[in-house]
C-alpha cells in the first residue's frame, strides 16, 4: 500500500489572512433518500450524529461532522484513516436500500482560511451572499472558475472544500485574494 498524500501536502501562506491546505482529511459521500428511516438509523450508527437540517452541519467541535450537500446527499468528515470504516458502517447500515457510500478523501482538497474577517477573502471569489451566511452553514458555490463548498466556523475561520484536480488553482486564488494590503474592508 502506498502512502497517502494530500493534494498540496499542507502548504500554507500568510497575507492579511492565513491560508492553509489541511493535509489529509477523511471524507465520505453518501447519496440516499435522507427522509427514509433506514438512512437516519444508518447515519446515526455510523457516526453517532443525526442528519443535519438543510444546508446545515452537525454541531459541536467534534472532529467528525456531517454536512448536508443536497436533498439526497451528505458529506461525512472524519480522520483520513477512518474513512473506510465509515463507508463500511454506512454500507452495512443501509443494507439493501438504494444508496451510494464512497470514500472521496483522495478526490478532494480542503483549505482553511484564518483572518480578522474571512469574508474579505471569500467575497472576492464567490458570488454567494456572505452577509446571509450563518456560522456552520454549508454553501456550495463556485470560487472563480471552480465549484467549491465552504462554511464559516466563526467570522475568523472558514473551511473550503474543492476537487483535488483544482487544488493548486484554489490555493493560488485564496493566496492572491489574501495578499497583504488587499483588504477591501467592505464587510
Amino acid at each position: 500500500m502506498s502512502n497517502a498524500f494530500s493534494a498540496l501536502q499542507g502548504v500554507s501562506d500568510t497575507g492579511f489572512a492565513h491560508v492553509k491546505e489541511m493535509g489529509l482529511v477523511g471524507m465520505v459521500t453518501l447519496k440516499a433518500d435522507l427522509d427514509a428511516a433506514i438512512t437516519k438509523k444508518a447515519v446515526k450508527s455510523a457516526i453517532g450524529e443525526g442528519i443535519p437540517a438543510a444546508r446545515g452541519m452537525s454541531d459541536g467541535s467534534k472532529p467528525d461532522g456531517v454536512a448536508w450537500m443536497a436533498p439526497d446527499e451528505l458529506l461525512f468528515l472524519c480522520k483520513h484513516e477512518e474513512a473506510e470504516g465509515v463507508v463500511n458502517a454506512l454500507t452495512k447500515g443501509m443494507g439493501d436500500a438504494h444508496h451510494l457510500a464512497v470514500n472521496v478523501s483522495d478526490a478532494r482538497a480542503v483549505f482553511t482560511i484564518e483572518a480578522r474577517d474571512v469574508r474579505e477573502v471569500l467575497g472576492k471569489l464567490t458570488p454567494a451572499n456572505l452577509a446571509d451566511l450563518k456560522p456552520r452553514e454549508i454553501r456550495r458555490s463556485r470560487f472563480a472558475q471552480v465549484p467549491a463548498a465552504f462554511w464559516m466556523n466563526s467570522p475568523n475561520h472558514a473551511t473550503v472544500i474543492c476537487f483535488r484536480s483544482v487544488a493548486q488553482y484554489m490555493f493560488d486564488l485564496l493566496v492572491t485574494a489574501a495578499k497583504e494590503g488587499a483588504e477591501v474592508r467592505y464587510y
Binding site: R55, A70, N129
Partner: protein, 106 residues
C-alpha cells in the same frame, strides 16, 4: 445579475452558479406521432420577449433541476418552483398577473 432562489436547497443562487436548460413545460409526443410534432418538440420555441418559463439547474450547488418564471426583457423573476411540475403553479401565475395584468398563459 440574475438571482434565482433554488426551491430544492433554498439558496439564492447567482446566474453564474446555474446552468440554463431552455424553455420549460415542453410536450414530447409519444409513439405514433408525426415528424412535424417531433420537430415542434425539438426545435420550435416561441422565444418570447416578456414572461417566460424556464428550466435551470443548480449546477454549482445542489445539482438539481428546477423551474423559474421570469421576464426575459427586464430579468424580473416571478418565482421558482420544483421541476416535478407539469404546468405553472397557481401562485406563480398569480404573481405574474399581479405585475402583468395583460398577460395570459397561452
Amino acid at each position: 445579475m440574475l438571482t434565482l432562489t433554488c426551491p430544492v436547497c433554498g439558496v439564492d443562487a447567482c446566474e453564474t452558479e446555474l446552468a440554463a436548460g431552455g424553455e420549460a413545460h415542453l410536450k414530447r409526443y409519444g409513439p405514433g406521432s408525426s415528424d412535424d410534432q417531433f420537430e415542434e418538440y425539438m426545435f420550435m420555441r416561441p422565444n418570447v420577449k416578456g414572461v417566460h418559463f424556464e428550466r435551470w439547474r443548480h449546477a454549482m450547488g445542489c445539482g438539481k433541476w428546477f423551474l423559474a418564471a421570469r421576464d426575459t426583457a427586464t430579468l424580473e423573476v416571478f418565482g421558482t418552483y420544483p421541476a416535478q411540475t407539469l404546468e405553472p403553479p397557481a401562485d406563480i401565475l398569480k404573481a405574474i398577473k399581479a405585475k402583468r395584468p395583460d398577460w395570459s398563459l397561452t
